[in-house]
């Protein structure tokens, strides 16, 4: 196990459940210090991938290496810690007791008071876990994950089921913690979380990486604008031949042109055709997400 090894190195991992292929030959390298979002709709294989990455599930094919070793090695040494979606807490312990108990499982753990503080739950330290809200329990899981001061922090849809305020508080705690050098990988289906907290987005669909790049690059994948106009009998081929045009869609009298050069398309429509009601809209990350996760597109920028 060397320190120059990638934090995460997934090589062609595959996992099937009966007839369903949850993860399909997925490969991914994450260097130390990266903050990476695993973005994808439900069923894209995010949780299965995270389970394999942590050693909770074994891939049918392919290998998983964390810092050059097995996930079990990394867990033993406290190099990786995770905040999972659900379950996993004893209701009859208090918040502080849960942290103290878990601290004893490590050869060397951060002081319980410190992780409670960093997770923003020092004020509810004496509350029974069973009486904590979902968001508070999630921050307790985060506090537990901080105990070994891990080099890699994995968060599996950490804010699922939280209200807006809970989500904001949770991410505030994560951000406040983000010391330089810690690798963070989080799975989410919230675009805004990926956009706001990750340096790099890995887009998953049907167990495969469909796009991988910085937030800007991912946005760029579905960049350009959509020019829409009412144009009965539009000449699709002529529109598609215009410079910068990616796609032409005709829905009845309505024509939608996806393009990198909306000016040319607009000029063409207004001067060469009978188009009216012309509108130009830019695409956002939401569109990129939808385009990449619903189309059979397998673009990758890495």
């Amino acid at each position: 196990m060397t320190d120059t090894a990638p934090a995460v190195d997934l090589a062609g991992i595959t996992k099937t459940f009966g007839p369903v292929t949850a993860v399909d030959g997925l490969s991914l390298r994450i260097e130390p210090g990266e903050v990476v979002a695993f973005l994808g709709p439900n069923g894209a294989g995010k949780t299965t991938t995270v389970d394999m990455l942590l050693g909770l599930a074994r891939p049918d094919a392919g290998t998983v290496r964390l810092f050059g070793g097995t996930p079990a090695d990394a867990v033993q040494l406290g190099r990786v810690a995770a905040v999972m979606q659900t379950g996993g807490l004893l209701k009859d312990l208090t918040v502080a007791e849960t942290v103290r108990l878990t601290a004893h499982f490590y050869a060397d753990a951060r002081p319980p008071a410190e992780v409670l503080e960093r997770a923003g739950i020092a004020d509810i330290a004496d509350r029974l876990v069973g009486k904590c809200s979902g968001g508070q329990q999630q921050r307790l899981r985060f506090a537990l994950a901080l105990l070994p001061d891990p080099d890699l922090m994995v968060l599996d849809e950490p804010t699922t089921g939280m209200d807006v305020e809970g989500r904001r508080d949770f991410w505030q705690a994560i951000r406040a913690d983000a010391r330089s050098g810690r690798t963070v990988l989080f799975a989410t289906h919230y675009l805004d979380e990926a956009d706001a907290y990750a340096d790099r987005i890995v887009l998953l669909r049907q167990g495969r990486v469909v796009a991988d790049g910085t937030t800007a690059e991912i946005k760029n994948l579905a960049a350009g604008r959509v020019v829409r106009a009412t144009l009965p009998g539009a000449d699709q081929a002529a529109l598609a031949a215009l410079p910068g045009v990616r796609e032409v869609e005709v829905r009845g009298d309505l024509v939608l042109v996806h393009t990198d050069d909306s000016d040319t398309v607009a000029r063409h429509l207004l001067t060469r055709t009978t188009a009216r009601d012309l509108e130009i809209t830019s695409r956002n990350l939401e569109d990129a997400f939808l385009a990449l996760t619903t189309d059979a597109l397998t673009a990758t920028t890495r």
């Binding site: 196990m1 260097e31 130390p32 867990v75 040494l77 996993g88 807490l89 009859d92 007791e97 060397d108």
Partner: protein, 267 residues
């Protein structure tokens, strides 16, 4: 597109990191576990209070009765109920595994360096501490109520009741790995009462019909009950009872180990 500025050295180098000693088993963890169980009022009632109350209700009225060898009948009842207290204590401590699996805590533990074997060792140790507590409380109630026995009988019966209850720690673990359920003790309680009855802990077996007595000798409580009372009755070593105890301990222990392996390798 990787970050260029964020590869600063982590505060802890990998060389500093080491796995925990003994796979994470420690006296501190054991202490927290025991405190946790003792805080559960329900457990306290079943382990410590109920057997003591049974003694006051059913033992004390026999105050002036004596066995053939001159030892008091109250001693016989006290030792039986000490076995009962220990069996409820150790079974519930073992069966706590069921609750923790149901809650997903065992999954959470797999993200820590705690070894599954260290987890089970903690559960068994907790069970045995609670079992000892059950025996001690029952004996204390007996002594305060006037039970007088030779010192050797106190010691031998107490140790046998306590150490023999390992069979129920194994039973608890077996059940715990069989079914993840938060309320496992709610159906284990009645089952334990039936086993205790068949094992002769509530009434002497010779009041039961003959056929029943023969069956009872093969049930898991019979062996430890007979052995624990042997020093009092002065009957010497009962090899059939010992075989019963060893057999059931091995059976539940191996069954629990098998399920435990299935649980921890299930990935």
């Amino acid at each position: 597109m990787t970050l260029t500025s964020s590869t600063a050295a982590a505060p802890r180098s990998a060389a500093d990191r080491r796995p925990p000693a003994l796979g994470g088993f420690s006296a501190a963890v054991l202490g927290i576990e025991i405190r946790r169980v003792l805080r559960n009022r329900r457990t306290l009632v079943f382990i410590l209070i109920m057997p003591a109350v049974f003694f006051l209700l059913f033992g004390l009225p026999q105050r002036n009765q004596y066995l053939d060898n001159g030892n008091p009948v109250t001693g016989y009842i006290m030792i039986s109920l000490a076995v009962y207290a220990a069996m409820v204590a150790t079974t519930s401590a073992g069966a706590a595994v069921a609750t923790e699996r149901a809650l997903g805590w065992s999954r959470q533990l797999r993200l820590t360096p705690l070894r599954p074997a260290a987890y089970v060792a903690t559960k068994v140790a907790t069970a045995m501490v609670l079992g000892l507590l059950g025996v001690l409380v029952e004996f204390a109630v007996g002594a305060v109520s006037g039970v007088r026995l030779p010192a050797q009988v106190w010691l031998e019966s107490g140790l046998t009741a306590w150490l023999g209850s390992l069979v129920f720690a194994a039973l608890g673990l077996f059940v715990g790995y069989l079914a993840p359920a938060e309320n496992v003790m709610q159906f284990m309680g009645p089952l334990l009462a039936i086993l205790a009855m068949l094992g002769g802990l509530f009434v002497p077996l010779d009041v039961l019909p003959h056929a029943m007595q023969q069956i009872a000798k093969f049930t898991p409580v019979y062996g430890v009950g007979q052995l624990a009372r042997a020093p009092l009755a002065g009957t010497g070593m009962d090899w059939a009872a010992l075989a019963n105890l060893v057999g059931w301990t091995a059976f539940f222990g191996l069954a629990a180990a098998r399920l435990f392996r299935r649980d921890t390798t299930r990935v």
